[in-house]
């Protein structure tokens, strides 16, 4: 089952590009939801055996990343009638190129890090790093608050992937705690987006720059 990890990770990477290149908000959220589901699967695969905790964890991850958060985001879009376009600061092509560059860098950097015997050749580290970078790219180049939440989510996904290396190290309690925190964070962000849209009647962060020097 261990050999399933790499195909899943390739899919995750492709979804990164999808999230970067899509112009429709809806598409982006779908991509992220799919990525979340894949990560849930990854948990089981990485554990290499069907323990009850592993399944529980996978379920939690899938529910949260694949279902709950995307629903929340969709809800937000509907609720505050966000326009459907992504509104990038730099163009989609440029985003994609930067994403490619980031992935390359991630691979290069992960090559400089020594890898344990059992993980040599595995895509986990490069995938984790490049997903993290993709998250940062989305965070820094997308105007809408909601896309920034998406970026944060991608960032977290990258870290989640890295966590797969440490399945033994990470007690489930902590993992659950991490997921819970993520959830609450997104939830609070959602609330704030909601209020922002009420106050500013837009959720573009362009309006959120009155606090400055």
């Amino acid at each position: 089952m261990y050999q399933l990890i790499d195909p899943i990770l390739v899919a995750v990477l492709l979804l990164n590009f999808a999230a970067l290149g899509a112009s429709q908000l809806r598409t982006v959220i779908h991509a992220i939801a799919l990525q979340g589901v894949l990560l849930g699967v990854l948990v089981v695969v990485a554990h290499n055996e069907f323990t009850i905790w592993a399944v529980l964890m996978a379920c939690a991850a899938i529910t949260l990343k694949g279902i709950f958060i995307p629903r929340l985001l969709f809800h937000a879009i509907r609720e505050v009638s966000i326009r459907r376009e992504v509104e990038p600061i730099i163009g989609f092509i440029a985003s994609l190129l930067l994403g490619g560059l980031g992935t390359a860098l991630a691979v290069l950097f992960s090559n400089t890090l020594p890898i344990a015997q059992e993980h040599v050749g595995s895509l986990i580290v490069p995938a984790a790093l490049s997903t993290t970078l993709t998250g940062f790219l989305i965070l820094t180049t997308r105007v809408k608050a909601i896309t920034q939440v998406v970026g944060y989510l991608v960032l977290e996904n990258g870290i989640f992937i890295f966590g797969m290396l440490l399945v033994e190290a990470m007690p489930f309690l902590v993992e659950i705690g991490v997921l819970l925190d993520l959830f609450v964070a997104i939830f609070v962000m959602g609330i704030i987006i909601n209020r922002i849209s009420r106050e500013f009647s837009t959720v573009s962060t362009r309006n959120l720059s009155s606090l400055k020097e």
């Binding site: 950097f109 940062f136 820094t140 720059s209 400055k212 020097e213």
Partner: protein
Amino acid sequence: MTQLLVITAIVLHAISGVPGLLFKRSADAGQKLSVALSTFGTVVGITGSIASLWFSTPKTSIIAIDGLSVIFLLPIFLISTLGSIYGLSYWKQADHPDNGQKLRLFYGLVTAALAAVTIAANAIVFLVAWEIMALSAYFLITTEDKDTAVRESGWVYLIATHLATLCLFGLFALLHSATGSFQLSPLTAGAVAPGVFTAMFLLALIGFGLKAGLMPLHMWLPGAHAMAPSHVSALMSGVLIKIGIYGFLRLCSLLPEPPLWWGGVILAVGVTSGVLGVVFALGQHDLKRLLAYHSIENIGIITIGIGLAMVGRTLERTDFVLLGMAGALLHVWNHGLFKSLLFLSAGAVIHATHTREIDQLGGLAKSMPRTALYFAVGAAAICGLPPLNGFVSEFLIYLGLFHSLNSGSGMTWTAAAFAIPALAMIGALAVTCFVKAFGAVFLGVARSEHARHAHEAKSMMTGPMLALVGFCLAIGLTPLLVAPVLEHGIRAWEPAAFDSGQKLTMLAPLGWLTIAGAALIVLITLGSFVLARRLRRCGVNPGVTWDCGYAAPASTMQYTSSSFAQMIVALFSWVLRPRVETPAEQPVFANAAHFHSHVSDIVLDGVLRPSFRFGAKITSSFRFLQAGNIHAYLFYIVLFLICLLLWR
């Protein structure tokens, strides 16, 4: 026991302003109580300080009183109390309900802290006392903080004093690294690299020099002295800036084997301060600013003495050390006495006329005869004229410098060769400046309504001045009496100074000064007697001043202080950079014309303000980094992360 007395005095001074807070803002009772506390504290403190000269007490790790401390303790207590008595009438609580309480609170604190600095035996106590002193002084300067100019001056002071404190941080940290403790105890040569000693010396020179107001670190001094209430100016100029000298002396005494160039640097700084201080004073037409620049000058003179003593330490010439230090220490006292006297009398003038502009005054000797007399004594003393105290200390420094002529070392006597004429020039310039100040303020005819309606100061104000006059005369006429105390101070600074068996009284003919002074007084009395007799015998006709036949001399025809100083200002225009408004070419029938020259401070207004403005402009240009754009913020994080990941 003596330590206990001094500490009691410090505590009494520290709390002297507190009772005032409990009384009503319009009541004078608190003020009287505070003066009583302060007076009592001073009596106790002076007793304790003098006693500690004869009954030596063991040093503790916190406080230590030695001869050097006593030299500085005495004027601190004395002048503070005289000032607070003066304040009874000058800054009456009832007249200043808004800030009288604050003033007295910090006045007591600053006195206590000053005294505490001089007896601190370790760096931490020193720093704490130092900063309480510095901050209290800030609040004293900004007593009238509603006034923008006052706030401005206070701010400049605060920056300067904080820079000084930071220098002291560095200094004491170096001391700590050299000795492993914070005790202010002498270092041994070779304990650390020579570079560390040099760094300590330079930090001390800058840190303490900032407080003392050495040119070019004097930028805070004129404004602060001008803006503070006069008795505060007296305290600041009289003793507060001397604490910088104290600190510098104390530190120098700890550093072993000073290289010759240290002394040279100190001498050069002293000469610069002395000459430029008085030159700048000449350009002023604010009475208190003028006096403030004279403080810079006198600090310069003191520093010349210290420089000589340092050279003496290097060359192991006890005569330089004795004469230089004696001159410097005595000048610390003397300047404290006559400068407070001058500030107090200037305060009386301001109190009576409500202006500090010299060119608005004039003729006050008629309406304020006592104040005028006291000012004249102070002026003569500050110019170093015999038979007053200023002469004695300058005499000692001159003598020391002349001694360095036969030192054999070419370097040092070159130092003397430029310091002696410089000192002479300082003296002559001071005479010029004080003739100008005394003449323009007290002599001639009133130049404005302010001056015309002046009245003599109350006895609470003239009393302290009279006391100071007495001290000036006493030291000037009987310098032998103070020599033992000075020797104690020198012994604390450099114990080796007496190794060769030389004594101050052997090197300096102080007794002759008494005789000469007495002779001078006799001659003057005799002359006055003769003149008075002749005048009575031959008759005196009152008349108007003869103005080449001009029919109606007016007060505006008098020479103003600007005009008086014009030639000197022109001579020194290369450093003063005066802004002169000369009258334009006039037609045959001349219109009203106007001559005015203004000398701004070259360091503050010429260098510091522009560079601060420039710095602020540079920093403002970085504001775009924080423009409210969250994307940029996140980008900084990534960037920083990548930088650190690539660190090694």
